[in-house]
């Protein structure tokens, strides 16, 4: 035991030390160039580990000027490199004699054909550019490097996202490349105020993380807060936006997520237009948006594309489905083991008949069935699609038919679990929290019946009421009540009538939409009021 503790302490010390050392080590690499190609290349070779995809191509142009381009194979467009760097330098210098003194500025101004060129002095910058896919040009006699952006790598095209498919609405989704993603957003919001701010996070991965917002719409405090939280992240690698999410969320130990994510540019753009900020991470199509409120999970972008009556009905349906998905097994167990008097007599008789001869208590029955359902779901998700289908068929057969006819499980329980399962798929954003709540409520119901369920729901409500996401109360349009936000909660009011943004989200609460509806001209004048629940 003591030995173990000692080990832990030693390990922690070492971790601390190593954390201190690393920045120093980096600083050593941040040397200046000498101005001699051989030495400079040596410097670079020292900075970047020997690797088979690092290409250093030395050549001579003009009057015996030695030069070299350095790039990473696979991250650059090789055609373009030979067309726009090597060709002009080596061809043109043949015929037209160069002036006596050739410096980097001349090369840049007169010789190269490419658009984005930068001059960098520090080795560190150059290295990081090379690693990001840029091409560096070093030249004898210049203590600087030209960084030419000729990035080009194989990417997945803009495809329809797998997670959020729609019947009506744009089909494009974000992809893994940050630039493409920002361009998708820029194409949706052609506004000079749209702003992207990039920070680099991850001591080893140097991942670009980009905060996107509309400058005079998003609250400055919100942007400050996001930056503060992003800067506090200390991690060696960011591989997906989930990493960021878990570091910046308000309540890391809550079952509810206080950061929402989406794969669809139109959804993210809509949220930014309400005053939210988006966080794009290089390497993943999932874009985070903050702040998130609970009802956001029930809003789908398609609600706004279809007409309000049907959209409202679907909204309500989602709320009901969510309730069913967390409550149905618990209610069934509570009713059938504690409150049989609440079941109508004929139903009770058929339930009792179905339960006759079932060897397990209802609670165990429900737990086993739900567990099996979760396993089935997990198996179906991870497997290749054809096999996944086989799994679900086998599972459905086993649960639905065999278990009942063998008398192991009552038929009503199968129905309840099936209804639960189907309902749980309607709210993808709350699947995780919903699953946990379902099991907790089920246990409470099995132990204490309706009282247990109510106590569980109370605890959940209290917890949700105490949550905040970047200063916004998690249950926002409901409590504290907000009329303009409420129009977009249980129902989706007609777009014309939603003249205001939800309270507390944006600096400017009036939607620009109201200008487009002539019948609403006599609407009250724009009123900018700061809400008491913000910050």
């Amino acid at each position: 035991m003591i030995n173990y503790l000692k080990k832990v302490i030693r390990f922690r010390k070492r971790k601390k030390n190593s954390g201190k050392e690393r920045p120093e080590a980096r600083q050593e690499t941040d040397a200046a160039f000498f101005g001699e190609l051989e030495n400079d290349l040596g410097l670079l070779r020292g900075a970047i580990a020997e690797s088979s995809d690092l290409i250093i191509r030395t050549f001579i142009f003009g009057r015996q000027i030695k030069a070299a381009i350095i790039y990473i194979d696979g991250l650059t467009d090789k055609e373009l490199i030979s067309e726009t760097i090597l060709k002009p330098l080596m061809y043109r210098t043949d015929g037209n004699p160069l002036p006596e003194k050739v410096d980097l500025e001349y090369v840049r101004a007169e010789l190269l054909f490419t658009g984005s060129i930068d001059t960098k002095k520090s080795l560190k910058d150059v290295v990081s550019h090379i690693l990001s896919g840029d091409t560096a040009l070093l030249m004898d006699g210049a203590a600087e490097a030209l960084v030419i952006s000729l990035r080009g790598w194989k990417t997945r095209g803009i495809q329809e996202p797998q997670t959020e498919s729609v019947v009506r609405g744009p089909r494009e989704g974000f992809s893994e490349t940050l630039r493409i993603n920002t361009s998708l957003l820029r194409r949706k919001i052609k506004n000079p105020d749209l702003k992207f701010e990039t920070v680099t996070i991850g001591e080893r991965t140097h991942t670009d993380v980009c905060i996107a917002y509309i400058d005079n719409l998003a609250k400055p405090e919100l942007i400050e807060e996001i930056k503060r939280r992003l800067n506090k992240i200390e991690i060696d690698g960011i591989l997906e936006s989930g990493y960021i999410e878990q570091y910046i969320e308000d309540a890391p130990y809550s079952i509810f997520s206080t950061v929402s994510n989406s794969e669809k540019p139109d959804k993210v753009a809509a949220k930014m237009l309400e005053g939210r900020a988006a966080i794009l991470v290089d390497g993943t199509p999932f874009v985070l948006t903050v702040p998130m409120v609970f009802v956001e999970s029930f809003q789908s972008e398609e609600d706004y594309y279809s007409r309000p009556f049907f959209a409202s009905a679907i909204r309500l349906l989602r709320f009901i489905a969510f309730l069913i998905s967390i409550l149905a097994p618990a209610l069934y167990v509570a009713l059938s083991t504690f409150h049989q008097e609440l079941i109508p007599t004929p139903l009770l008789l058929s339930m009792a008949a179905a339960h006759e001869g079932v060897p397990f208590p209802a609670l165990i029955e429900a737990l086993v069935m739900l567990l099996f359902f979760e396993i089935l779901k997990e198996a179906g998700v991870r497997l290749p699609r054809p096999i996944g289908q086989a799994v679900s068929i086998v599972g459905a057969l086993v649960i639905g038919e065999a278990a009942v006819s063998a008398g192991l499980i009552g038929a009503p329980m199968v129905i309840v679990v099936a209804v639960t399962a189907v309902s749980s798929f309607t709210i993808p954003a709350q699947t995780d929290s919903g699953t946990i709540m379902r099991f907790v409520l089920l246990l409470l119901a099995g132990l204490m019946g309706g009282f247990g369920i109510s106590i569980g729901l109370f605890a959940i409500l209290i917890h949700m009421a105490s949550l905040r996401s970047f200063g916004i109360p998690y249950l926002m349009p409901l409590v504290p009540f907000d009329r303009s936000g409420f129009k977009d909660t249980f129902i989706r009011a007609p777009l014309r009538s939603m003249t205001k943004r939800p309270r507390g989200m944006a600096t400017d609460e009036i939607r620009r939409r109201n200008a487009s509806s002539p019948s609403r001209q006599k609407e009250e004048p724009p009123k900018v009021s700061s809400s008491e629940d913000s910050g």
């Binding site: 309540a251 083991t337 009770l348 008789l349 008949a353 179905a354 246990l443």
Partner: protein, 388 residues
């Protein structure tokens, strides 16, 4: 990190509490003996009570389906036991039954004739007090013993108790000759001193092979003791006054003396008391609407004079029924209509003096019956199908 550790501790505490106090009251469905009907009889020894509880066999209920191996098995069991009180008898049944009796789904409460005449308060208290029992069970009086009534053989239902409860409902809806009385209504009348509770009577007819139950007549209580019964006509008379007639047939004759059946579609009835020179006068107003249901003769009933005649006849029948009921009630000195309460509501001051001698006052009360009976529809044909 701080909030996190606190969360974890809270969760730990919660789990501990739940485990400490959980699992107290749960009963699986297959541990319940669902009681569908209860019969109360006077025990053989004086002061004892004999309880019959009809418990469903859930497995048999579902046996209509594919595996109907156990056909012929009854879907119910009757447990009978005697005790000094209802509750002790109920608890004694547990010694015979493998499952705990479960009362919330009880459909009917049948009082044996002897028990009803003995005074029912002591038998019913358990059913009003216990949290498991409900007040919306039908209360009936058996012609003989309640035990026999629960042992009848229903033709369409699987369980006698639910058959009887459906009989009661059907009786109230389609013939209106006996009132469907729930325990709560019974309790309502019991709690008012001058009111006399009523309950339908269930009769057991035995043709040697099969015993069947049918509703026949209404038992009249005085205080909590059964003192007499109304027959079917008088029973409908009571319902006319209370405005509870929902359907039924009025048999009368046409102007030529052929029998005609008139269907009751809707009816209203109310009464209001009046004090004239210190004497009570009750005015009962009944309005009824109906259709021609059937005729046995050949004349055209849709002729207007004939309609007027039939309406008059009908009013006469209704009036006779009401008068018969009142006469019977006055004979029994039982205020089954609640005339006393209506005087209490209208003349609270005078009532204080009348309250104690209401029994005598009631039997010589003057009643005026006003009936307005209408015929609305003739049915699908006008004149009967006879050659002209």
């Amino acid at each position: 990190m701080k909030t996190g550790s606190r969360m974890m501790k809270t969760v730990q505490c919660f789990v501990m509490i739940v485990c400490l106090c959980g699992c107290m009251n749960s009963r699986e469905l297959n541990e319940l003996g669902i009681v569908m009907g209860v019969g109360i009889d006077k025990g053989d020894e004086s002061g004892t009570v004999r309880i019959t509880a009809q418990v469903v066999k859930a497995g048999e209920i579902a046996s209509t389906g594919k595996n109907s191996g156990g056909i012929g098995g009854k879907a119910y069991v009757n447990f009978t036991d005697t005790g000094n009180t209802v509750f002790s008898a109920v608890r004694d049944i547990t010694t015979q039954s493998s499952r705990k009796l479960y009362f919330p789904h009880n459909q009917v409460l049948i009082l044996g004739r002897s028990a009803a005449e003995d005074g029912v308060t002591k038998y019913l208290d358990f059913f009003m007090r216990d949290p498991e029992t409900r007040l919306n069970v039908y209360i009936l009086v058996a012609d003989g013993s309640a035990e026999d009534a629960l042992a009848t053989d229903p033709q369409l239902e699987k369980i006698p108790a639910s058959a009887i409860s459906k009989l009661v409902e059907g009786e109230a809806k389609s013939t209106s000759q006996a009132m469907a009385v729930e325990l709560k209504d019974f309790k309502d009348s019991l709690m008012v001193k001058t009111n006399a509770p009523v309950a339908p009577i269930v009769e057991i007819s035995d043709d040697g092979e099969k015993k069947t139950a049918k509703i026949n007549g209404t038992a009249v209580f005085k205080g909590d003791k059964m003192v007499g019964a109304l027959d079917k006509t008088e029973g409908r008379g009571l319902l006319w006054v209370l405005g509870k007639v929902e359907g039924g047939i009025i048999e009368t004759t046409s102007s030529q003396g052929n029998p005609v059946s008139l269907e009751i579609v809707r009816a209203k009835g109310k009464f209001s008391p009046e004090l004239v020179d210190g004497k009570v006068k009750i005015t009962i107003t009944i309005s009824e609407e109906g259709n021609i249901g059937e005729e046995a003769g050949t004349e055209n009933l849709t002729a207007l004079p004939e309609v007027a005649f039939l309406e008059k006849q009908k009013g006469e029948v209704i009036k006779n029924e009401v008068t018969a009921a009142i006469k019977k009630a006055q004979e029994l000195h039982a205020d089954i209509f609640g005339f006393g309460e209506s005087i209490h509501h209208k003349y609270p001051e005078e009532w204080k003096a009348m309250k104690d001698q209401w029994d005598e006052l009631f039997s010589e009360i003057e009643v005026e019956v006003k009936v307005e009976a209408k015929l609305r529809l003739s049915g699908r044909i006008s004149a009967p199908a006879v050659p002209k």
